[in-house]
Symmetry: C3
Subunit: 348 residues, 3 copies
């Protein structure tokens, strides 16, 4: 079961060039392609003639041509050419999906096209601002449900256990971090304060901290799959009054989790450098360090997925630090429930 | 569901030497072996004692000996020796399958042995005539249903899309080819005329055509899995009156599609050179070029299989060039229906 | 269905060091670890908080710490620390399993802990006697049910077919071997005599036999998964009166078959040298030769498993040499039946 009336990251815009790109989203095989007018489109990746995947075809002037018997489909999914045949039956068409290219992403809407409103897409202007926020991005395929990866981002006490040698720092700092949480229509925001704490190795490497530091992290979850992150750090004492504007280190991360199947997902993420913007090495190092940490997450969450797939979540016990995670899950459950057809009275 | 009362190619005769050969046919594990009298036999590949595969045993004078505890089975499947035991229970036997070695093939009958008539086997004498039709043969394992590979051969408009760079030529030539079709008891024959057309690269390479040519292809489908092909080409104008006897280029292809499982098959094929018979290079080049083209078919049909296995054939739309393919499918459906036990009236 | 109220070999004791060891036993994911007090413990390999496998964590002073959010479990499975939380709900616990370290093995009890009696563990003191029985040990993962491997050891006529080139010797010797069988509460013992027989290549290599020999093998099966073996050989005539005390060659093998899943198992085995105890080369050669033979068993039994999984054991036919095997199976069936809850009368 997936939330379908929602925008998901389907691809990075720069993944889609001349060759059609196949990608399974919410367990449907999709083909993404860019036409001569530079428009990205998304169709079901299966020709309606004999079922060949359309991604094996090629982009031609009229649209996307199947590589088996040459039928051509326009971006609405309508067939506009059947070789050897003048009349085309109206049902000769494949399903199309609304897509929007914005902020270096291609967003896709997997539900009712009539409800697809591009204004609902999470803006992320940092991707367009290479001066103040030079960034790098990539995608990790994950063998775990998208929700388990969002879970991971909602309980940051894991930093002290999963990321000890990279971005973590001391476990007790993370457990004792002060949390301020605010609910939003599509999720929640939270701020974590770790004042007077030990700088993790990656922070020292980035800006040369000496001695203890103040750390602050601001997260926002926007259902169903976006997590926006601002991270800052400064010499100890700087954040004492809750003002983070004078940060020596700051960066923004985008986390986009898109379901591939019920037990796998795509992790689209970017890191934007807000501390040494004119130094490409700093941008690259930030990306490398974040990427190394996310591979640590990938390993533990994939192993978790295997256990849950086998033994279920029935006997699990929530703990105090699950608060944000549980609110995130309730939001997702509510959206999912809203999409389901109303049940007949007798069925209950 | 497979057509069972029919002859399928089980192997090339030269595949079966001293070592027993395991092969799954119509989803049954079969072992093929050649005995001291040079006879090929086929048994279910599972010892009736403890279930070990018989192909792990060896051929001995009395028959095929299981490699686990030494039981020996003759070619009828009867056990003729149980180590340490004088009396052999009559039910100590494995299933055997009728086989016929003919024209370099080993044919197998997977249905009721009482109905197995070797006279029904498709003759292919070209394999025995290395003077006029020197040939080469091989087998491609295909991860797609045998019927999808036969489909592929029944709609040759795919040549212009799948084989553009090899044996294809211009797409519109294939789409506009004139078709003459004739129905037969076990399938159909069709002839495709492409007069005054561009020579595909492989034809030019084979006989040095300069300029436009007349092309002709004659196909015959014999249910359930044989497709017989004659292909010819000549200087433009030669075929004007429908007479193809004066062909500068001609070759014969045999396509034998044998189900392994519901979603995989064996593609036994050969190419016989009828144009430069005394030149082994020409025989080899023909084989190489045909083989390269068939790998293109394999790629698209395997991808098609994956989509159909997931999403079904429910919404697919037939087009005009499907005519021969649809007749082939109806023939196969009829044969399959004839094999099914009559249904009780109330079941309908 | 597995026999659960029984001791199985879970691991070799030397497999369990600083890093927790994951191992699936009777289709349950288990984590084995050794604590600071050098005690081996076994827990279900899944944290009760979010389901992460505990083997990805680490051993700390209080017990085993989950590598995701830091919960700590003691060897009884009780959670003794939840980061960021003072009160721990009693149900915050994972399942634990009785384990005993003895004779170089770690034994595990997969059933009702109240019934776990260490006195029932098969003793194997040879592992502790490097002077008289220097040994080597290892584990082979097998893609077949544990019972099929025990089957293999109960019908030794397979030696003449599976192990012809290694430990086998002449097939008819094995088939004609005189068997003496004795039933025991948890299985059976049998002795096989092969007097005046050809020495197999490995025996000649071990002690330089020239000419024919007397061979004797004593086996004991102890349900559910232990097979104890003594093998001896001497110059022809030595065993004439049934006395094997004067053996030129003798060794002891331990075979421990532990179910991983219904169709896979672990084969823990050791070989103890009782003929040239002061020669490490002899100990190693014995190990190498036995190991090579067991790989031959592995190949045929894994192939057998695949056939049985597909086609079932329904039509199989028992033969005379199956007697010991059938008694072993009846013993296992009886133990399994004794574990099942009594069925209500009406259910039959």
């Amino acid at each position: 079961m997936f939330i379908r009336n929602a925008w998901y990251v389907a691809a990075w815009a720069d993944e889609i060039g001349e060759a059609p790109l196949p990608r399974r989203i919410c367990n449907e095989p999709i083909v993404l392609y860019r036409d001569a007018q530079n428009r990205v489109s998304a169709l079901l990746d299966m020709c309606c003639h004999r079922g060949a995947p359309l991604h094996m075809g090629k982009v031609v002037e009229q649209g996307l041509q199947c590589g088996y018997h040459g039928l051509i489909f326009d971006r609405s999914g309508a067939c506009v050419s059947v070789p050897g045949q003048d009349r085309i039956l109206p049902r000769t068409q494949v399903r199309s999906f609304p897509v929007v290219e914005q902020d270096a992403f291609v967003w896709i809407w997997m539900g009712d096209p009539a409800k697809a409103d591009p204004a609902q897409i999470v803006p992320w202007p940092y991707h367009n601002d290479q001066t103040n926020w030079p960034h790098r991005h990539t995608m990790y395929p994950i063998k775990a449900a998208a929700m388990l990866m969002v879970d991971n981002l909602m309980d940051l006490t894991h930093l002290g256990y999963v990321h000890t040698s990279t971005i973590g720092g001391n476990p007790s700092q993370h457990v004792e971090a002060k949390m301020e949480t605010e609910r939003t229509p599509l999720g929640l925001k939270f701020t974590r304060w770790m004042l007077n704490s030990v700088a993790p190795p990656t922070y020292v490497k980035a800006v040369g901290f000496q001695g203890r530091i103040d750390r602050c992290q601001r997260f926002e979850f926007v259902a169903p799959g976006s997590v926006l992150q601002w991270t800052g750090a400064a010499e100890v004492g700087t954040y004492r009054d809750g003002d983070t504007s004078d940060s020596k280190l700051q960066f923004r991360l985008f986390h986009g989790l898109t379901p591939e199947t019920e037990t796998s997902c795509f992790y689209f993420w970017s890191s934007a450098n807000g501390f040494r913007q004119d130094d490409p090495t700093a941008t690259q190092q930030l990306f490398d360090q974040v990427g190394a940490a996310f591979l640590e997450d990938k390993a533990v969450v994939e192993a978790q997925q295997a256990r849950l797939a086998e033994l279920g979540e029935g006997g699990l016990v929530d703990i105090v630090t699950d608060a944000a995670r549980l609110h995130m899950r309730r939001t997702a459950q509510r959206l999912l429930a809203e999409e389901q057809p109303p049940q007949a009275f007798a069925a209950a």
